[in-house]
């Protein structure tokens, strides 16, 4: 079963994402900031990372760069309300496989995760 790491400083968003993916049977883990995400990812080697951008301790973009080095096989989907064109481009150019703007519907997340897992 795929392993999905949920990274967001907002506990509500983490719970919302876990609910959205609960019925898939995926193994779910979570982190509340960029530093923690890098630590968890280095141990669990997630197939997919759902990554917020604006977080304490370490920004999502810095975490994205580190995750690309530590586990290049992980497919990273950025989830953020900061969906300006230039920032979306920056995230995709840095190696993210997708960008889902907040607020999102659970089916959007499910669709985005399934899509990157099929590639």
């Amino acid at each position: 079963m795929p392993n999905v790491l949920i990274v967001d400083d907002d506990a509500f968003v983490r719970a919302y994402l876990k609910d959205a993916l609960a019925e898939t049977g995926y193994f779910l883990s979570e982190a509340s900031n960029g530093e923690e995400a890098v630590d968890v990812a280095s141990m669990e080697r997630p197939d997919v990372v759902l990554l917020d951008l604006l977080m304490p301790k370490q920004s999502g973009l810095d975490a994205l760069a580190k995750l690309r080095n530590i586990c290049p096989e992980s497919r990273i989907i950025v989830i953020s309300s900061l969906d300006s064109d230039s920032l979306v481009d920056q995230a995709l150019n840095a190696g993210a496989k997708g960008f889902v703007a907040k607020p999102f519907h659970p089916l959007e997340i499910l669709g985005a995760v399934r899509k990157v897992l099929q590639v």
């Binding site: 920004s59 300006s84 064109d85 920032l87």
Partner: protein, 297 residues
């Protein structure tokens, strides 16, 4: 391209970002309440210590505010376009056969959000203009509705119903004062002063108008001069047969530029700061003159 990390008041970090992206995020309201900035992601400084970021944040916030206000102005104009050509009762959301009081209540409820006093001093000119367009449109609609309902009669305070009806019968429904009662406007670098010569024949400027009268702390100034809605001015009242002179700060809240038939051109002001004693004097002056007028009829 220089990169920056920003930190908001909740200690959340975003970066690295270029100044263009930061400006876009601030202008769209997606990023706000920034407290710190870093050039390397580890050493943090206040915004003031990084002037190029501080400038972008200030400009972005101003641009965002301007964009939001322009959007609001467009919304008001779109609403106005939908109103044009429709009857007053349809726009006010009341039955056509409603009483004048119902029309007035509905009018005031509708026009209130567009009143010039509701706008702050730094409101974007486009939003101010859109508010004025709506305010003028609704005010004109109300005046026309009043004319249609045949209610443009004086409502002097202190009159008995008998004396009022007597006065009504004798009046031609056209106000008996004109622009000549209004002495004029004096403009200085930092002030506008309007002088009004009040006499027994024109006390109706305090009572005749349904929207600007003593009960609403307003007065109608008959004149061909034009002052935009929202203009602040000093009004000086000089009373015939009295040594009393009253000065008050006022704001233009209504204007009739001659679109309504059988009415005098001019504008209505709301008196912002009027002493109780001055208010009482005007009230008594109006009452005395109205009674004398009725007695003569």
């Amino acid at each position: 391209m220089a990169n920056y990390w920003i930190c908001d008041s909740s200690n959340r970090i975003l970066g690295p970002l270029g100044l263009g992206t930061l400006r876009e995020l601030v202008a769209s309201g997606r990023v706000r309440e920034l407290s710190k900035v870093s050039r390397d992601g580890s050493r943090w400084q206040t915004l003031d210590e990084v002037p190029e970021v501080s400038r972008v944040v200030t400009e972005g916030a101003a641009e965002g505010g301007e964009r939001a206000q322009k959007f609001k102005a467009a919304q008001i104009r779109s609403r106005l376009a939908a109103m044009r050509g429709r009857k007053a009762h349809e726009i006010f959301g009341i039955a056509r056969a409603s009483t004048l009081d119902h029309y007035r209540t509905a009018f005031f409820r509708l026009v209130k959000p567009f009143h010039p006093d509701k706008l702050s001093g730094d409101t974007h000119p486009d939003l101010r203009a859109a508010n004025e367009e709506m305010f003028k449109f609704l005010s004109t609609l109300m005046v026309e509705a009043e004319a249609e309902l045949g209610a443009a009669t004086p409502r002097s305070h202190g009159e008995s119903s008998t004396s009022r009806s007597k006065l009504r019968e004798k009046q031609d429904r056209i106000p008996n004062y004109g622009a000549e009662e209004f002495v004029g406007i004096k403009r200085g670098p930092h002030f506008i002063e309007a002088t009004v010569r009040v006499n027994p024949g024109n006390v109706g400027i305090f009572t005749d108008h349904s929207m600007v009268n003593l009960s609403t702390m307003g007065v109608f100034l008959p004149t061909t001069h034009h002052l935009p809605l929202g203009t602040l001015l000093d009004v000086r009242f000089v009373f015939e047969n009295s040594s009393r002179e009253i000065k008050a700060r006022a704001r233009v809240v209504w204007e009739n530029v001659g679109v309504v038939a059988k009415s005098v051109s001019g504008f209505g002001v709301r008196l912002l700061r009027l002493d109780k004693s001055d208010q009482l004097f005007i009230q008594q002056y109006v009452d005395q003159k109205s009674i004398a007028q009725v007695e003569r009829v």
